[in-house]
């Protein structure tokens, strides 16, 4: 049982120094796999290291199972961590690396041996037990690092970008290995990454961070389908969501090149923005060259500036009027030339609206959830 609770956590380096983590509120439930996702330098590692006890907490309270641990040293928090560099002890064998964390904890030697052996079996490390880290491949080192955390049988596991040094194939394998261990152990795990694919595939929930603050917390698909702001909208999804500056004209978002009926939103939601600038968002995969059936279809006009056939699909970069460029993800069979005049269409439920100043999402009306549900089904096939 371990619930990790961050309450207005702040990290400031030095007196009056820069605030690198600001007022982070986050509760990680028992047995949850929480992913901290965000671009490099946004404070993910700092947050994780404060949970670990490797970094002092400048403000707020951190509690584990209701016990405030702000001033509890790392070794007394019952937390294990897997580092990006793996941080294996180079002068010890794999077996010693695994056992090292148990030796200071008044555990009988027989029990240590038993646990090391058990974990080595699970992770396929048995033939490597006598080797030094120098004689292991990257993937093997990664597994030792994971094993070193597992033998401790901690309440909470922390991972700081553990896959970023592996090649693509190994990354996928290790990803499923970690998920497998999470399912088996049922421990609380907190996982830091800047890779949205890792976040989407591994997390039970994702906490998206930006510039030291929480941008949004939610289940992977929730964060993808209902981004709380333009940052999350662009950070999740590849290519990032297209954002276009428009003006609200009645129940339509318009600009020279854009005309989108906003049937997802109630009139009341749009009233405050009447006649004002508003940001329209549409994902690249929701754009098509053929006008779909039905009412309320949105429309964009522009010129192609780049065409990237990727095989399975074709990415087309389109310049709207002015400087805005958007990406459309089109079926592979479409033939578009450079500098061609194009019209792109999207269904009403594919539209997103954001406050042009704050970047916050403007919530669609309640029954739009049904529309989103339909959209989820349409794509989940």
């Amino acid at each position: 049982m371990a619930v990790v609770r961050l309450d207005k956590i702040v990290k400031r380096y030095g007196m009056g120094g820069p605030v690198v983590v600001e007022d982070v509120d986050l509760t990680i439930e028992d047995g949850e796999f929480m992913v901290l996702l965000g671009p490099s330098g946004c404070g993910k590692s700092t947050t994780l290291r404060m949970i670990a006890g490797l970094e002092t907490i400048s403000g707020g309270t951190l509690s584990i199972d209701g016990r405030v641990v702000n001033d509890v040293p790392a070794k007394d928090r019952d937390i294990a961590m897997v580092f990006q560099s793996y941080a294996l002890y180079p002068h010890m064998s794999v077996a010693e690396n695994l056992a090292f964390g148990l030796r200071r904890r008044a555990i009988p030697n027989a029990e240590i041996d038993r646990r090391v052996k058990a974990v080595a079996e699970i992770l396929g490390l048995v033939p490597l037990l006598a080797r030094r880290p120098a004689a292991l491949s990257g993937g093997q080192r990664q597994r030792v690092a994971l094993g070193r955390a597992m033998v401790r049988e901690p309440q909470v596991f922390l991972f700081d970008e553990p896959l970023s040094n592996l090649d693509a194939a190994l990354r996928v394998n290790t990803r499923s290995e970690i998920i497998k261990q999470h399912n088996r152990l049922g421990s609380t795990m907190i996982y830091v990454t800047h890779d949205q694919v890792e976040a989407m595939t591994m997390g039970t929930r994702i906490c998206v961070m930006n510039a030291g603050k929480v941008a949004q917390i939610g289940a992977p698909l929730e964060v993808y389908w209902q981004p709380a702001n333009t940052f999350v909208a662009r950070f999740l999804g590849a290519p990032p969501m297209n954002l276009m500056a428009t003006t609200l004209d009645g129940a339509r978002a318009r600009s020279m090149a854009v005309d989108a009926p906003l049937s997802r939103w109630s009139e009341a939601a749009l009233v405050p923005y009447a006649g004002r600038r508003i940001t329209l968002g549409v994902r690249a995969e929701d754009l098509s060259l053929e006008r779909p059936a039905g009412a309320g279809i949105g429309k964009l006009r522009g010129r192609t500036v780049a065409v990237e056939p990727l095989g399975a699909e074709t990415l087309v970069l389109v310049a709207l009027d002015g400087e805005t460029e958007i990406t459309a993800r089109l079926p592979r069979q479409v033939m578009v030339a450079l500098d061609q005049e194009l019209e792109l269409f999207f269904r009403p439920e594919a539209a997103y609206l954001f406050d042009a100043e704050s970047g916050l999402a403007i919530a669609p009306r309640e029954d739009a959830a049904a529309v989103i549900g339909a959209a989820v089904q349409r794509r989940a096939h």
């Binding site: 290291r49 990006q84 690396n97 090292f100 200071r104 880290p133 040094n165």
Partner: protein, 296 residues
């Protein structure tokens, strides 16, 4: 990242183990040319030593008859004679002073280097600069003041006093060398050990010292050789014949046996052999192999 295969062993993920120091030789250095150069250099450095070694088992009469000849009879008993005519005393004096000083220098130096490399505290870089500046000045300038201080504190003409002086002489360079190496040990290793339940002192013993062994071995050899051969401070600070260390002992011995070349050669050999043994034991390669298993 660091340049050290030892440090990187557990730390540079994804790369296969390999020693970055080993690169193929440029082509024009054909193997033959290299062998000749190395051969000549070996003769140049090893020649005098071998000559001394042969003389140490020959009598002075034999040496004057044919200075460069190979010994016809190996007179090992000359070692016993040298040992009994004072070298035993010199040897043990040297051993006590030098080993004592080297052990203390290594422990204090490593601890200080670790603190300077790893902890942020006010004055860290100031201490480091002061240490570094004391390396630049020749140690001889401290001789007179040290003499006075030792006299004041009743440490003049004592092996303990000499050991203290040796410690202070070697400490700055030791800290300087070790700090450079320790600073390259990635912070993640320390954080991992902290998560594994270890305190600062244990981390020093169980992580810093073993991982830093290649550098520590280098300073061990360096300090040992320098102090074993140290003459100036010993000759000024020690007057009692029973407290002579080997370098001053040899000089006294030369004065007593100034015509007995064979005996002098034997005495010099007695003082040189420990240096060679120390080198063999603490050579960086060997330690590296023992600590990291990085050599294939």
């Amino acid at each position: 990242m660091s340049q050290s295969a030892v440090l990187d062993a557990g730390l540079r993920p994804g790369t296969e183990p390999q020693d970055p120091a080993r690169r193929p030789l440029p082509r024009f250095f054909g193997k033959g040319v290299l062998a000749v150069v190395l051969g000549l250099y070996t003769i140049y450095t090893l020649g005098p030593f071998l000559w001394l070694a042969t003389m140490s088992v020959r009598t002075t009469a034999e040496i004057s008859a044919a200075p460069y000849a190979w010994p016809t009879v190996f007179r090992w008993e000359q070692y016993r004679t040298a040992w009994e005519s004072g070298f035993a005393v010199y040897f043990w004096n040297s051993a006590i002073v030098v080993v004592g000083a080297v052990v203390v220098v290594t422990l204090i130096g490593a601890a200080a280097a670790h603190a300077l490399a790893r902890y942020r505290f006010r004055g860290n870089r100031l201490i480091y600069s002061i240490l570094f500046s004391s390396i630049i000045f020749p140690p001889q300038i401290t001789l007179i003041s040290l003499y006075q201080i030792l006299v004041d504190y009743n440490l003049y003409n004592s092996l303990f006093g000499l050991a203290l002086v040796y410690i202070s002489l070697q400490l700055p360079l030791t800290v300087y060398l070790l700090e450079g190496f320790f600073a390259r040990i990635p912070q993640d290793l320390f954080d991992a050990a902290k998560m594994d339940g270890y305190g600062d002192l244990e981390i020093f013993w169980r992580i810093v010292l073993p991982v830093g062994m290649p550098a520590i071995a280098t300073t061990l050899i360096l300090n040992f050789i320098q102090l074993w051969n140290e003459f100036l401070f010993a000759v000024v600070l020690i007057t009692d014949p029973d407290k002579r260390t080997l370098p001053i002992g040899i000089r006294a011995f030369m004065g007593d046996h100034f015509q007995d070349i064979g005996m002098i050669a034997t005495g010099v050999m007695v003082s040189v052999i420990p240096v060679i043994i120390a080198y063999v034991f603490f050579s960086e390669k060997l330690i590296r192999g023992m600590t990291a298993g990085a050599i294939k």
